[in-house]
Symmetry: C2
Subunit: 119 residues, 2 copies
């Protein structure tokens, strides 16, 4: 016997109506895009390690590369991503460029995530 949609979905609407009804409620493309970009920055191991290091101390590019045992180029590319998304800010000093976190929000998000995985 066919189950009543009201029983299934808690609504009187048929599936098609429900679909039409809810299209208006969809997270808009613009928000979805930016939100995805927001989370994407934090979704890479290297970037997370960089964020973690910078939460402890301002560091220049080759120091980060040395600590993480990665090439200067790889780190520089990732710092560019972090810069573009305004998570870190550079400070030029002679031939060095020192990076630090833009603000406390970055650490907050990082720590919130960490709480969820160590739980």
């Amino acid at each position: 016997m066919e189950e009543n949609l009201k029983d299934i979905c808690g609504t009187d609407m048929g599936h098609e109506d429900l679909i039409k009804e809810n299209k208006a409620n969809t997270l808009c493309d613009d928000h979805a895009y930016h939100l995805a970009e927001f989370f994407k920055v934090y979704s890479d191991e290297t970037r997370l390690k960089i964020i973690h290091l910078l939460s402890l101390k301002e560091l220049c590019v080759h120091e980060i590369a040395g600590i993480l045992d990665m090439s200067q180029s790889a780190i520089s590319h990732q710092l560019k991503v972090l810069r573009n998304q305004k998570l870190v800010k550079p400070r030029k000093s002679g031939k060095h460029v020192f990076y630090s976190l833009s603000d406390d929000h970055v650490v907050t998000i990082f720590k919130n995530g960490l709480d969820h995985i160590v739980e």
Copy 2:
């Protein structure tokens, strides 16, 4: 004239010593991996839209596909990712499978992210 490293880095250590010193402080690979996985789930537009919809109402696969104007297969694949990471849970009812969010944490993370991008 060479800048003293103390001036540059706020430490007496040379760069090499600093690098050695800090390797111990690096976010361990295991944590980095899991943290990246954690954020990765939220870093896709389709998954974010699904999460958003499920925060409003329990829905079955073809309803989600209908609302988002995407193929059943694409949605099913993404639901698998969300299931694997325990963000959603399935409830079988006849030939339908209804999905809902596993717990409030998911919405909290979603909303925290949204706050950052609309600010």
